[in-house]
Symmetry: C3
C-alpha cells in the first residue's frame, strides 16, 4: 500500500498481523460464489472494511493509480456499472466504459473470447456483465487478465452476494448465530440463491417467505440441506418476523403470476410497511438488492433498520476490495 | 487552494482580499436562478474568472482530485454532459457517466429518489438532467450530496443562465448599463427566460424581438416589470440593433408555426448575416445557446463580435466554479 | 518526456540521439495515410516503440496528465473507441466519451463544424469517427485543436493502417524486403487499401488473393504501380502462401455476393486453418484487423504466428504515440 496512506491495520478486526501483504486473489477471476471458502470471505471483508475506512476518511486514494478497468456491459445495469466505476476511481484507477456492445463489433458477430482478448490488450482487469449463463467462465478461460463476473444471466452475480453478506457482517458485527429471512420471489431471484449458498459457510438459520409459485427452488434447498443449515419455508411473514435478525426483501413481479387476480391476491403480503416493522426486532436490518418497486414503503427509509441504501455503499467497498485483490494491491 | 497553484488573487477583480477561503455554496444544491442574489453571482463569476486563468495557464489542476461526479442524464445532451465532464476533469476529479438511464434500473420503474440515493453512495456530487419539471428539486430533497440541475424539462437550466451572464460580464467587462436584445423564439426558450430573470439583478435595458406568436410570456414580462427593469418588444431587429450591446439569438423552430407559409414569412427576419451586422455596434457581442440551425450565418463566425463559441468556453469555467464551490474547494 | 520517466533512448533503434525533443506532429491533424512520408512513419514507430516499453514496464505514466481527449464517435466502434480511451488513460490523460451523438444535439441538426468548435472549448485533442467520407478533413478545417481521424466512412482510417504497419515492423524487425499477401474482400476493405498505400513507402512485394468480384480496385492497383511496387493477383492462396512473410486476412461477407451459392462456392478458400498454415513459413505472421467472423479458425490462436491479438496491442502504442505527438509531448 502506498506510503502516504496512514496505517489502519490495528483498526481492522479481520486481518491477523502480518497477513497485510497477502494478495490472496492476485491474478484470479471472480466468477462464482462457489469459489469462496470462509477464509476467503473473511479476507475480502477485511479488505473491504479497510476500504470503507479509507473512503470515509480521505475519499479517494492512489492504490490502483495507473491501472485500467474495462467495464464491459452487454446489457445495461446502471447500478452495477456505476458501482464498479466508482470503486476503480476511488482507488485512483481509470475506467474504459463499454456500454454499447450490442451496437458494435459484437453485433457484427464477434465472439466473446475475441472481444475479451482485444480488451485485455488495453486494460488490467475486465468486469463483465452478459445475459448468458456461463459467459463469465468462458471469458475467464480465454483471458490472461482477471475477469470479474458482474452478472451472467440467471447464472451468478457473485459481487452482489458478497456485498449482501458484507452488509450483514458490518451491520450486525457478525454472521454466525443470526436468523436470516428472505422474502418475495425466491424462485427467480438470483440474488437470494447466491446469498443462501454463501450463508452455508456460517452458522445461521434461514427462513423463506414467498407465494407458493415463487418458492425457493428444490435444488437450492437441497444444497443448503447438505450443509446442515436449518431452513424453514413460510407463506407469510408474520410468524417469523419477530425472531428474524435480517429481513432480505426481493421484488415480486406481476409477470410471474398466471393471472392478474392471482398477483393481486398475494402482493399485499410482500410489502413492508411501518406497521409491519413494529413486530420486528429493534436491531433487525431490512435489506434489498434494489431497485425496489413498491416492496418497501418509502416511509420506512428513515427507520434506522432500513439498511438498503447503506447496502449500496457496502457494495462499493466490496468491489474496491475485489479490484485491489485481483490486481495484487490489497 | 492547493499550494502548487500560483496565487492569482491579485488578478481577480471580483474577490476582495481575504474572501478567498469563502466557500459560499459548500454542500448546497444549484437548482434555480431564483436562488441567487447579486452577491452570489459576483462570487461565482469571481471563481469562474479564476478558473479561466488557471485553465489558460496550466490546463488542468488538482483542486478536486479524489472527488467524483455522477453525471446523470435521463435525456441526452452531448453539450451539457461534455461540459460538466470536462469541468470535473480539468479540476482533477473523476466522472461516473450515466447516459443510458432510460434502458436500465429506471426503466424497471425505479424512482428518482432511489436512483439519487444509490448514486450518492458512490459520488460526491450529482449533476442531473431530467425531462420533468421539478425533478432536480425532488432529487435535492432526498440527497445528502449536492445536486446541480443541468436542465429539468421546460423548467430551469440554471448553469446555462449563469454562463450566459458570465459571458456578458467577461466580454463586456460589466453588466450594469448594457442594453441586451433577445431575438427569436422567446416564448419557448427556457434559456432567455432564465437569463431575463438573472438580468433583473443588474441595471440593464432588455429588448425582445420575436414573431408575434413567439413573444416573451406575460409571466416573465410581469416579473421583470416588478423589478423596474425597462423592457421593450419589437417584431423586427432593425430598429433596436444599433443601440444593442448584446444580441442574444435563439432558434425559431418551424414546428412552432401553424403553417409552413407562416414560418416562411418570418424566418428571414431572424437570421443574422454579415449585412445585418453592419448596423450593429462595433463592440456588440452576438450570443447563442447553441446548437444553432441557421439563425446565424457561418460567415459571421470570423467576426470578432461572434461570441457564441467563446460562450461555450465560459460555460466550462462557470461549471468548474460551481463544482468547486459546492464541494467546498473554491 | 517528463523527468521522472527513466530514459530508454538507448533501447530505441529508431530515433537518432538528439531527436528526442522533436515533436514532429505537434498541433497537427492525423487525417490520411497520404500525409506521411517514410521519415514520419519511422518517427511515429519510434515513439510507439518507446510507448510499448513504458507500458510493459510501468503500465501507465503521466506524460499527458492534465490533457483531455474528446472521443467523438458518430457511429459505434467499441474497439477503436476503447483503444483511444486506453491510450489516453495510459498516458495519464482524461477522456470525454461521446458515443451517443446520434441522439443529441447532432440529431437536432447541428453541423459537424459547430460540434467540433464546441468540443475544442473543453478538450485538447479530438478523435473523430464519422460515417461520411471527408468528415475528418472538414472537422480539421474548422478546429484549432488537433483532429485524429478514427475512420470516416469508406474513406480513411489512418491509425488502423499505421498500427498494421507498426505490427509488421515490430514482429518482423523490418519492412523492407518483405512479401505481404492480402486475403479476402480486397474491394471493400478500407483497411487493405490504406495499408497498401503505406507499403509503397517501403521496398516490398504485395500479393492479392480474393474472389473475382472482390478484387483490389483498379485505382489502388494503379497507385501502387506508379510507385514501382511489384504486385500480383491470385484467386487462391496456395501458390503464394509459402513465400509470404505476412498474411493479412480480411473478412469475406456473404452480402457481397450475388447469390448464396456464389458465396458458398468460394468461402472455404478464404478460411485459414491449421492445415493451411503448414504450408506457410515458420516466421510468417497472420494479421487481421478484427473483428473476425470465421476467416481464421480459433484453433490457430495458439500458433505463435497468429499476430492478430498482438496487433491490437500494437494499436494501443501507435495511438499513444499519435496522441503524445500532436500534443507536443512525444
Amino acid at each position: 500500500m502506498a506510503t502516504h496512506i496512514p496505517p489502519i491495520r490495528k483498526q481492522n478486526p479481520y486481518l491477523p498481523f502480518g497477513d497485510q501483504k497477502g494478495t490472496r486473489f492476485y491474478g484470479q477471476d471472480i466468477l462464482s460464489v462457489k469459489q469462496f471458502n470462509r477464509d476467503d470471505l473473511e479476507y475480502i471483508f477485511g479488505v473491504a472494511h479497510e476500504m470503507a475506512g479509507m473512503v470515509r476518511r480521505i475519499g479517494t486514494f492512489d492504490l490502483l493509480k495507473g491501472k485500467i478497468l474495462a467495464n464491459l456491459f452487454y446489457e445495461p445495469s446502471t447500478r452495477t456499472s456505476a458501482s464498479f466505476t466508482a470503486a476503480m476511481e476511488r482507488l485512483g484507477g481509470s475506467v474504459i466504459p463499454i456500454n454499447e456492445v450490442r451496437y458494435s463489433s459484437v453485433s457484427k458477430g464477434e465472439s466473446l473470447p475475441d472481444t475479451i482478448r482485444t480488451l485485455e490488450a488495453y486494460a488490467d482487469v475486465i468486469v463483465l456483465r452478459h445475459p448468458e449463463v456461463g459467459s463469465a467462465a468462458m471469458a475467464a478461460k480465454y483471458a490472461r487478465k482477471p475477469i470479474i463476473n458482474a452478472g451472467d444471466g440467471i447464472g451468478e452475480h457473485p459481487t452482489q452476494a458478497l456485498l449482501d453478506l458484507f452488509t450483514i457482517q458490518e451491520e450486525m458485527g457478525h454472521i454466525d448465530g443470526l436468523t436470516i429471512t428472505m422474502l418475495g420471489d425466491l424462485r427467480n431471484g438470483r440474488t437470494v440463491h447466491s446469498l443462501s449458498r454463501l450463508l452455508t459457510l456460517f452458522d445461521v438459520c434461514i427462513n423463506y417467505v414467498s407465494p407458493d409459485i415463487l418458492r425457493m427452488p428444490a435444488e437450492i434447498i437441497g444444497e443448503i440441506n447438505d450443509k446442515n443449515i436449518p431452513q424453514k419455508e413460510f407463506s407469510d411473514l408474520e410468524t417469523i418476523l419477530p425472531e428474524s435478525d435480517v429481513l432480505y426483501v426481493t421484488r415480486v413481479q406481476k409477470e410471474r403470476f398466471a393471472t392478474p387476480e392471482e398477483y393481486e391476491s398475494v402482493k399485499g403480503c410482500y410489502v413492508i410497511t411501518r406497521e409491519i416493522m413494529q413486530k420486528a426486532k429493534e436491531e433487525m436490518i431490512v435489506m434489498h438488492p434494489l431497485p425496489r418497486v413498491g416492496e418497501i414503503e418509502m416511509e420506512l427509509d428513515d427507520d434506522p433498520r432500513a439498511a438498503y441504501f447503506r447496502q449500496v455503499e457496502y457494495g462499493l467497498y466490496v468491489r474496491m476490495a475485489l479490484l485491489a485483490s485481483v490486481l495484487g494491491k490489497a
